[in-house]
Symmetry: C2
Subunit: 254 residues, 2 copies
């Protein structure tokens, strides 16, 4: 039997420890091809490159996988891999491991999750993985068995078309992780505050800063599950239609 073909991408760039760990974990499950950005792409959301051009390089990194770096966004990587690099359809696309959370509303800003969504749009099985640790030297090894377990479960039980998975992992030792909780996206938002500075020429400039405000205490909200020591898995749709509001809106607009 052919081993599953696994496409790996991310938004922190092809040399980030998060993706190198994910590649190592996936090499034990299938044949791995990596197509990932050649530079960090955090916060790029579902951006695509349409007003400039793309280049790619095959690079040699440790391990049996093939590695390609692309001068684009995470979504570009998925599109480019499918059109120009892979010779057959991947059995699954995994994105990450992101350095930092992509829980709740972060799903819409996240390059990691946008790559997974793009794979879903292409009709593929897809999962985004994020660890709740922003540091470059975060310990991804503690998540290894959990990540492998989730990928194997998805390969054995395909997710319906139109849905991809958003997996967030608490910053805990493997033995301290209490298990997996299937969750909804918590109702939360960033409270922005732009930090004003003056440049050497006297002109004001701004850094985007802020704090995360979770307003959701439901047991099955991803933020709550994570705070209680569980891995959260949110099934994410990319049909954004608010079906429950269609009839009322017809009454107002038509």
């Amino acid at each position: 039997m052919q081993r599953p073909l696994i496409l790996v991408t991310n938004d922190d760039g092809i040399t980030a420890p998060g993706i190198r760990n994910l590649v190592e974990f996936m090499n034990e499950i299938g044949e791995v091809v990596v197509v990932a950005p050649n530079s960090p792409q955090s916060g790029k959301g579902h951006a695509i490159t349409i007003n400039s051009t793309l280049t790619f390089e095959e690079i040699n990194l440790e391990g049996p996988q093939k590695d390609y770096s692309l001068s684009g966004t995470p979504v570009d990587c998925v599109k480019f891999a499918l059109d120009k690099i892979l010779t057959r359809k991947p059995d699954i696309v995994v994105s990450g491991i992101n350095h930092g959370a992509n829980s709740s509303i972060n799903v819409i800003y996240s390059g990691t999750m946008s790559a997974a969504v793009e794979a879903g749009v292409e009709g593929l099985q897809a999962i985004g993985f994020s660890l709740l640790d922003f540091s470059w030297d975060a310990d991804f090894k503690e998540a290894k068995t959990h990540i492998q377990d989730i990928v194997r479960k998805v390969l054995a039980n395909p997710i319906p078309k139109g849905i991809v998975l958003n997996v967030n992992i608490p910053k805990l030792k493997s033995s301290e992780i209490k298990g997996i909780r299937v969750c909804k996206q918590a109702h939360a938002k960033w409270e922005e505050s732009f930090d004003e500075r003056i440049n050497p020429h006297g002109k004001k400039y701004y850094w985007l800063t802020g704090y995360f405000n979770n307003m959701d205490t439901s047991e099955n909200a991803d933020e709550v599950a994570l705070s209680e020591g569980y891995i959260s898995i949110v099934p994410v749709k990319f049909d954004l239609t608010a079906y429950e509001y269609l009839d009322q809106l017809k009454g107002i607009m038509e």
Copy 2:
């Protein structure tokens, strides 16, 4: 009575004809403040600027509104306007008019719609407008009464929290537009094809190209409504949870 405060933004840049027309239409409805990108931001999705800084300028353009150009993405514009420019909460945020369609799956790539979604995350009423004409000198005037009518209806009938509107307008004379149809996001995708070229130094580079493939013939799919001469309005949610799949996923993962 205070006139409604209307924040206007877009993704084609503050001088694009689409936003200048929208500003003109909105000046007849309320007090208008424009905070828009200083350069084109098409295809930027829900990107935010976190690894570089932002600057803004007040600029003088024709009309009673105030205009501010920001060195960021559409989502940055909404965040920045709320934190640093507006002195009270806007009654509505309108984004566009985009030069080109943002119907069906384009909602996830669209800077125009991401600005509207960001306003929704902030708890505000929000609408993204797009005209099915990519040309810079598209005739936006034909859409004027329809756009004003939709904005007035939303101001009079607030949309529930968590939902924003994606409005697409066919390229037709006002008298040829058959009316408004409240729609779902059509099931459709881009079939990518990267156009390979060779640069003067002998290195390959690529342009993202492709064609749009609508697979949805439902009467209430936005693509169908538009092709039949209707304005489509899709209510868009940013809670992406696939609630209908939660129980089945629990059976697999927990």
